[in-house]
């Protein structure tokens, strides 16, 4: 069944490298997101799977079959485009039944499949309406029904929710996942919205500059981001640069700017090595006054924002760095200009080797 495998796949347009040496395995009936900032190669990867662009190198397998030379119409896929691409000169019904018609199914089979899909996507509209008469949400459902009716087990979605209003987007997000699971499809979903990817996917493929940065479940990506980029792109993090001062069996001591000493759990780093520490705002602890402890820095509250169940604080440290902390509304709260101690619990500190191009470049989102 539709398991998708990409082996050493690259795509170049002239001198521009769009996708470089991508290796990826998507399992049968899995919902996978390709996530990354614009220009990271995620859409090209999807189009490579669909056969809309040919790889410059590498092999693509769908359901165990090498499909490099197979045209899109024979790959057994459904594709939902960001702009929906509904045929403007055809009615809703003709759009939905386009796949079966061009494949030569008989009209009975066509209608029954199309009706089933129309029900699945909860499309309630006149079938003789034309795309220009429909709202965004409706168009999305028609596009989805058309892709599903085409009969493939592999559903490819290119930013399918990108053109919709925020509210409809949230609603359709869950429906999309339910639909894929109910029909037992394999889905590959391209998005630049990390929240969408986290809520919808079984696994997420984070891409950057044409290459895969990390593949994992939403939980893995959030809790154990392998790179500084992923830590920054998925969720939020405070980053600090430092040098390893002491390396022990299970932990290291890190000296950061201003001479402060931090303890973190990490192995295999040598003394004197440059590293970057990252802590999520919700794992950053705030305490009133100046508390002298390991892993603590001092500063004052610069601004605060209520986020409902959480309060988000911007703390200006004495070394002028800015730290973000999220404190549950039930916890201790502070006022602007309050003197504060910021505590980074060692078990929540993520440790990375100092990136070659510098920390700032690693945090760029292009």
């Amino acid at each position: 069944m539709p398991e998708v495998v990409l082996k050493n796949v690259s795509k170049r347009f002239g001198k521009i490298v769009a996708v470089e040496n991508v290796n990826l395995q998507i399992y049968d009936k899995e919902y996978v997101s390709l996530l990354g900032p614009s220009g990271c190669g995620k859409t090209i990867t999807l189009r490579l799977i669909a056969g809309l662009v040919d790889p410059s190198e590498g092999e693509i397998y769908i359901g165990g079959r090498l499909v490099n030379k197979v045209p899109p119409e024979d790959r057994g896929i459904g594709f939902v485009f960001q702009t929906f691409a509904l045929f403007p000169h055809m009615s809703v019904w003709d759009n939905i039944t386009y796949g079966p018609r061009v494949k030569g199914w008989n009209s009975e089979k066509t209608s029954s499949v199309a009706n089933e899909m129309v029900e699945m996507v909860k499309l309630a509209t006149r079938f003789d309406a034309y795309p220009r008469e429909l709202s965004g949400g409706m168009l999305q459902r028609v596009a989805l029904a058309r892709a599903l009716t085409a009969g493939g087990n592999l559903l490819l979605l290119d930013e399918p929710l990108g053109q919709l209003d925020a509210k409809i987007r949230l609603e359709l997000r869950y429906e999309l996942r339910r639909l894929v699971k109910d029909l037992g499809l394999t889905a590959v979903h391209v998005t630049h919205d990390q929240e969408e990817a986290l809520t919808i996917s079984d696994r997420i493929v984070v891409m950057r500059r044409g290459a895969i940065e990390q593949v994992g479940t939403p939980n893995e990506l959030y809790m154990k981001p392998k790179t500084i980029f992923v830590a920054n792109f998925i969720g939020e993090a405070n980053f600090m640069e430092g040098t390893v001062a002491k390396s022990e069996e299970k932990e290291i001591y890190v000296e950061i700017r201003g001479g402060f000493m931090f303890r973190a759990f990490e192995m295999g780093l040598g003394k004197g090595e440059m590293i970057v520490l990252a802590v999520r705002p919700e794992n950053t602890v705030l305490m009133r006054g100046e508390v002298n402890m390991k892993n603590c820095l001092f500063g004052s509250v610069e601004s605060l924002t209520f986020l409902g169940s959480l309060v988000r604080y911007h703390v200006r440290l004495d070394n002028q760095d800015l730290v973000v902390a999220k404190v549950p509304i039930s916890g201790n709260q502070f006022n602007i200009d309050d003197r504060i101690t910021v505590y980074f619990p060692p078990e929540n500190i993520l440790v990375y080797k100092y990136p070659e191009g510098g920390l700032r470049r690693e945090l760029e989102l292009e």
């Binding site: 669909a50 056969g51 809309l52 045209p71 899109p72 119409e73 024979d74 896929i77 459904g78 594709f79 485009f81 702009t83 691409a85 509904l86 045929f87 403007p88 000169h89 055809m90 003709d94 386009y98 796949g99 018609r101 061009v102 494949k103 030569g104 058309r146 892709a147 085409a150 009969g151 490819l156």
Partner: protein, 545 residues
């Protein structure tokens, strides 16, 4: 200059001045462009009866009219049959040679039509052309040669329009079809071509109108065959005023009717998309069939379009080495008339272009920005196209008749008016389309920032549409230099270059093939130099824009 601009800027704030400018452009359009070509004939309605008394002439006239429309429709259809695959190949192909092919597809555009006609005459029926391969004249002058000629000069129109359409088309629709399971042929037939229907209709109308209108080159290759324009020309030479008016009237009326029908029914015409034949269409999408299609398109282009178009180079080049060339440049004998006609042609083209720019810009604004209200602007938009579909010789006849009502009217004036009518639509269409593409928010924000209407036009619209302005000017100019039909209809003394060359080919003046070849050659070279210069200017303007 700056003070002049300032004055215009502040004048443009006065509503009365704006009304005056727009009003004048509308009056200009109706009084000089639209009404004379139609009214001239209607005023002479009474003379039309003459032809009904002469059954021989009548049957000649009807068969000429019939030939004109039959040829125009047939040519427009084969243009689509061969031009569409070629356009597809150029727009979608991946070969490096496509740029070369694309450029060569324009060759028949660049060559003035009379030179093209002579080139085809030599190629298909002259003793030194392709006939020498077969030992006899392959296609003698007559209707078949007319069809070949019309195919040659209208084919680039279809290719040019359709390449643009296919490039502008959002391929995502086709991708939607492909990912739904449609092979390439089915996707093109059921999705892409129906979406491009408007462009296909437009290119059909253009090719049809070009074929219906062309006179000069057609005269060269017609032999004794008569189509509408040739009948008019012959009738004029013989002084048969009634038959001439009759045929002009019928050509104009039927052309208008066909144009209106296509325009009204075209959008309703549905390309059948529901039925699909999966197996055979899959076959048509196969590599072999596509290769065959591309190959056929290229060979048709090379053999039927490119080779005959360029054939005039041969006599022109051999004339260079013989004494003909030195005779020509020194202007001996009939060459002095030749140079005079060439100067007249280019001067006329320049004057007409200039007037069109001045009178056409306000009209383009009126249409693009709907300044006269929604419906009137839409009506103007349709009316502006009318002179384009009228057979040019019939249009010339009517213009001549109209202005001759005003006592003494100089022939040069008639010539200018006829050429204005014919070229005006090309300029206004190009400009109004370009202005429509400029986001109106830009104009509004310029106004809100304090720009007066003319300032906005000068600093926002003009720089953003400069490319189209040049392109429109080029079209106007070349169309005028090329024009034969209307010219023949209105002149008795003056001769433009194409008219003179037609006389040469028709044997009105004793000339040799080398001399005609050289005459055509000069025309081609000068037109080419002018086009090239303008193109370079445009490139520069485009880059700075």
């Amino acid at each position: 200059m700056e003070r002049f601009e300032k004055t215009l800027d502040s004048l443009s704030s006065k509503p009365s001045i704006r009304y005056l400018v727009y009003g004048a452009s509308i009056v200009f359009f109706f009084a000089l462009i639209l009404v004379p070509p139609i009214l001239g004939i209607i005023l002479k309605w009474n003379l039309m009866g003459q032809i009904f008394e002469n059954s021989g002439l009548m049957s000649r006239a009807t068969s000429a009219i019939y030939s004109s429309f039959a040829i125009a429709i047939f040519v427009a259809i084969i243009d689509l049959i061969f031009g569409l695959p070629m356009a597809w190949f150029i727009a979608r192909g991946k070969s490096r040679w496509l740029d070369v092919l694309d450029t060569f597809a324009d060759v028949p555009f660049i060559i003035p039509t009379v030179a093209l006609g002579y080139s085809l005459l030599l190629f298909w029926s002259g003793s030194g052309g392709i006939s020498s391969l077969f030992g006899r004249s392959l296609v003698s002058p007559g209707w078949l040669l007319i069809i070949l000629l019309h195919f040659t000069f209208s084919y680039p129109v279809v290719v040019r329009v359709m390449v643009g359409e296919i490039l502008d088309y959002e391929q995502v629709y086709e991708e939607g079809a492909r990912t739904s399971g449609a092979p390439p042929f089915t996707a093109a037939r059921t999705v892409t071509l129906p979406i491009l229907k408007q462009g296909i209709i437009a290119s059909f109308i253009l090719a049809f109108a070009r074929s219906l209108s062309e006179t000069g080159a057609t005269l060269m290759v017609a032999g004794t065959f008569e189509n509408g324009p040739i009948f008019i020309k012959n009738a004029k030479d013989l002084g048969y005023e009634g038959p001439l008016i009759f045929v002009s009237f019928v050509l104009i009326a039927v052309a208008c009717a066909i144009f209106a029908i296509v325009r009204l029914l075209g959008p309703k015409l549905r390309i059948p998309v529901r039925r699909v034949w999966p197996e055979s269409e899959r076959g048509l999408s196969s590599r072999g069939v596509v290769g065959l299609r591309d190959g056929t398109s290229i060979w048709v282009f090379l053999i039927l379009i490119l080779a005959p178009s360029l054939f005039v180079v041969l006599p022109a080049v051999s004339a260079l080495t013989s004494g003909t060339f030195s005779q020509a440049v020194t202007g001996i004998g009939m060459w002095s008339a030749y140079w005079q006609s060439l100067i007249l042609s280019y001067a006329l083209g320049a004057v007409v272009t200039l007037i069109n720019i001045i009178a056409g810009l306000p009209m383009a604004l009126l249409i693009a920005r709907k300044k006269a209200g929604k419906l009137p602007s839409a009506i103007l938009d349709i009316l502006v196209n009318v002179p384009m579909v009228l057979p040019s010789i019939a249009l010339g006849v009517s213009i001549g008749l109209f202005w001759k009502n005003f006592a003494f009217f100089p022939e040069l004036g008639l010539l200018i008016f006829a050429h204005l009518s014919i070229t005006y639509p090309y300029f206004v269409r190009a400009m109004s389309a370009a202005i429509e593409r400029v986001n109106i928010d830009l104009e509004d924000s310029a106004r809100i920032l304090g720009g007066r209407p003319f300032t906005v036009f000068r600093t926002i619209i003009l720089p953003l549409t400069k490319y189209s302005l040049f392109a429109g000017a080029i079209m106007t100019f070349t169309r005028s230099v090329d024009e034969t039909g209307a010219t023949l209809a209105v002149v008795t003394q003056l001769k433009t270059a194409p008219v003179l060359l037609v006389d040469w080919v028709k044997g009105k003046v004793p000339v040799t093939a080398l001399e005609i070849g050289l005459g055509c050659g000069f025309l081609v070279v000068f037109s080419f130099i002018i086009l090239l210069t303008l193109r370079i200017l445009i490139r520069g303007a485009h880059r700075h824009a």
